[in-house]
Symmetry: C2
Amino acid sequence: MSNKAEIMQQLKSEILALNLKPGTILSETALSERFQISRTPLRDVLKQLSLESYIDIYPKKGNLVSFIDLDSVEQMIYLRSTLEKEIIKDLAVQMPLRGNLELTQILDKQQEAVQRENAHEAFLAWDDAFHKTLFALAGREFLWNLIQQYNVHYIRYRRLHLLKREKLEEIRDEHQLMLDCITNHNQESIEELVHHHLHEDINARYLQENFADYIKK
Amino acid sequence: MSNKAEIMQQLKSEILALNLKPGTILSETALSERFQISRTPLRDVLKQLSLESYIDIYPKKGNLVSFIDLDSVEQMIYLRSTLEKEIIKDLAVQMPLRGNLELTQILDKQQEAVQRENAHEAFLAWDDAFHKTLFALAGREFLWNLIQQYNVHYIRYRRLHLLKREKLEEIRDEHQLMLDCITNHNQESIEELVHHHLHEDINARYLQENFADYIKK
DNA sequence: CCGATAAATCTTGTATACAAGATTGTTATT
DNA sequence: AATAACAATCTTGTATACAAGATTTATCGG
């Protein structure tokens, strides 16, 4: 572990996995000892992390792992919901041939994860893969990547929800319904479907009560 | 002119105004002499400029003002169009009381700019103000700011179009129509209106022919 | 003259010493 | 004991010397 890209990836994944909890101090000197590298390249990494909202830099005071910003979460859900409605409607008009196969394979893997115990991580990964593939098939990978750069708060928010199996099944089934709409060229139900799919599990109160010290006030 | 924020603002505005042309080399030593500051803080500025696509950093080679990426322009227009359809529909359902006055005042100023000669800059500024205010009234300033961080290519693209007066009048009139839809709670025409408004002046060929050396290949 | 190789000179990347602000702890005074 | 002033020690911010890669120039051989 020595170059900047690796260090950044490492810190990002620790923050997203909540191993580095919101509020944790990331001091330059401590990190430079941990990664055996000088402060200068480390500052590059921290600068980028702050631009992507992983950390907050307080000049001459220190760097804190950012608290989860529920407003940001709501805004990103609105953005994703709006965009995905449009993208899925586009796909219902025309989709690349390979699309049906790719999406079906992902749904199979996700179904597998629903059945397994302790497969929460895998489930979320296949969930992401499904949505990312929708963007890609519509030629909107650019916008998927743009969203990812602002998704720290949303990703951590979602990870804190431990969803019951029935909920996982519902999510997976809704994916199936989306694919059905696309293949049947049925634009009618898409808006409501996508809106429900992305807004359903907003439960700010649950987080406020159980993880108050992770949340931005 | 000495602190980092000022330097960044200065470089951003020179790039957006195309005073710094795409492809121009921004060497650290040259900039450090110009701004009378050492390379370290300058590198912070350049890092951020690259993350917002103002420049491209080629490691150990140099920093170039980025070429205008027409794909990015198209993607951002799709994003804005999709979002603004939703936002204006939201406003047609409910808008803060102050909204009507604020938007009307902006439209007046923009009308003034249409009449004046050589008011192209002012026209574009009021155009931006109108759209920004729509976002703000809908409680979506967060998303407006997000878009701005990826707008280098779109802003420069739009600036290269020298629009005729008839075109300016059309743009301004469409703004008026949008406001009418909102106040009349008329959701019907919004989709088509917004789509036409943002997609109309895509004329990649014009740029390709007249500013080929500004465009990313 | 042409081409290849090497050297000089660009560029940015990294390490580190020092500057300066913020916080903490201590001490003196009431 | 409480408070104010000061000092020590944290933190990050900046300047600069040096390292290392990339490019250009020069030199030498054919």
